[in-house]
Amino acid sequence: MAVPTSRPTTAARTDARARPGPRPALSGAERCLAVIDYLLVVYRRTWRGSIIERFLSPVFFLLSMGVGLGALVDRRSGGVGGVPYLEFVVPAIVATQAMWVAMGESTYQVLGYIKWNMAYHAMLATPLGVRDVLVGHLLAVAGHMTVATAIFMAVAALFGGFSSWWALLCLPVAVLTGMAFAVPIFAFTARQEGDSGFNILFRFVMTPLMLFSGTFFPVGQLPVWMQPVAWLTPLWHGVSASRAASSGDVDWPVLLGHVAVLALFIGAGWWLAVRSFAARLVR
């Protein structure tokens, strides 16, 4: 028998995957990339619509909240804790809009892949497994969130929303905040039959969170009993981390504390999502 002198090349390995007999297994990276490839093809068809939205939504936000409301706040009380209102609100809105991207990417599309076009079922008939499908899709969502946040931050910077280069840290913080929502929402969506649950999520979870998690005013302004509630929400941690990151003088312990809580939400969400996906897709 011939002794192989070198490792088979990648091409030889992938060619053998379409030939009779046992096939060379896919690496973890290959499995996730295959799922991401599908989502890239999907995005390629839809990016024009979403890119316009990505540019317009920050402009509207900044014009109304930052510039309009900000002028009023700054004139009356000299900003929030000495920080001009625009610089106070922009890092928070960056984190908040990542939450909205998470909502947009983790509901209808995920339910569609489960129920309507059954894209997940197509994947699971191949060597891919539930975890591959989940990791691949979540990574694609994280990528989408990164691009959306970068656009938002670029627009905000043009409006003078940042005062320091440290604000670049808001990008990973926002993606982390978004994923702290996306991963648990994936788990939630996999338990839905129709879209009525999404309305509840939208009206009774996301909207109150945006209003009461310190995005537009410090949580200290809330009634005392509401403040601990804010501490339990990922958005408050995301907003606080984003502010800690953008303030020229980064408060590392505070920043890392909030980041750790966000990571906790992602971890718990992952645990739930794997279970929900398996229960829904493998019967």
Binding site: A18, V41, N117, T126
Partner: protein, 311 residues
């Protein structure tokens, strides 16, 4: 030679339950390399549940299942890498183009982008979809979508192709095109496992089949064997001017081997249908119409279960 080399699929006491409901109730079967093996049965017989276990997407509840000698519970991905699957309901992305659907699916099997493109070209030819390669899937006809699903299932050069009701809902012409493609695949050495509730499809395509009902296998053999074993050579179909065809059954005792009563006709099983027809006439029984035909799997099914396949 090991068992996994000639017997590609082996099931012993294979069972599937959903909650308290038993969809597949301890079935035994084996599929040999190169053959076309069928599951024939009515709605709810457990065909899809069985196919989904064989496709390693649905965990086995009980019994034993082996593909290529491997256990789906531990080697699911390795087995699926060697299968082609045409599910009962198409799982194409209708927003994407025909060729994008193929490329994407090939990537799931770990094929390179270059290879996926090469193979997609050949498969579109095979599925007679080359002209539609760049078109969106959504407006395609049902037959075209089905052919695309089959082309897609072949992207990894599968050794076994699982087809769950490949032609249900298609018009006769589309079905014949599809059957022709499946014949070609079989000739090229692909092992076919299919389910159907069309007896003509089973007769046309299957070398061997099992008849399923209520989650159980009630008979097994080649179409000819089954017909020989469970039916007569010919059947005399009689229609009467009545709402209750059963009323006429006593008049026909002894004409053939057996009489089956259907809502709209009576079936007399006899090796010589014309002789049976003469005998009916001699007894002075006057049906509205009478027809002699050869026995089919439909008759086998009727005999085994007392019900029609398609209701």
């Amino acid at each position: 030679m090991s068992d996994g080399e000639t017997t590609l699929v082996r099931a012993r006491g294979l069972t599937k339950t959903f909650g308290g409901f038993t969809a597949v109730d301890g079935v035994d079967f084996a599929v040999t390399r190169g053959e076309c093996f069928g599951f024939l049965g009515p709605n709810g017989a457990g065909k899809s549940s069985t196919m989904r276990m064989v496709g390693c997407v649905s965990p086995v509840t009980g019994g034993e299942l082996r593909l290529f000698g491997l256990d789906p519970a531990t080697d699911g991905p390795a087995i699926r890498a060697r299968l082609g699957v045409v599910p009962q309901r198409d799982t194409l992305d209708e927003e994407l183009t025909v060729e994008e659907n193929l490329w994407i699916y090939g990537r799931y099997f770990g094929l390179s982008r270059r290879e996926v493109r090469e193979r997609a070209g050949e498969l579109l030819d095979f599925a007679q979809l080359t002209e539609r390669a760049g078109d969106k899937v959504e407006p395609l006809s049902g037959g075209m979508k089905r052919r695309l699903t089959i082309a897609r299932s072949l992207i990894n050069g599968p050794e076994i192709l699982l087809l769950d009701e490949p032609t249900t809902g298609l018009d006769p012409q589309a079905r014949h095109i599809l059957w022709d493609r499946l014949f070609r695949l079989k000739r090229s050495g692909v092992t076919l496992v299919l389910t159907t509730h069309y007896m003509d499809e089973a007769e046309q395509l299957c070398d061997r089949l099992v008849v399923m009902d209520h989650g159980r296998i009630v008979a097994e053999g080649s179409p000819q064997q089954l017909i020989k074993e469970y039916s007569s050579r010919e059947v005399l179909e009689l229609r009467f001017d009545t709402d209750e065809h059963g009323e006429w059954a006593p008049e026909l005792v002894g004409v053939g081997e057996r009489v089956e009563v259907l809502p709209d006709r009576l079936l007399v099983y006899a090796d010589d249908g014309d002789a049976a027809a003469s005998e009916v006439h001699r007894r002075g029984v006057e049906p509205l119409s009478s027809l002699v035909r050869r026995s089919t799997l439909e008759d086998v099914f009727l005999h085994l279960t007392g019900r029609s396949l398609v209701d």
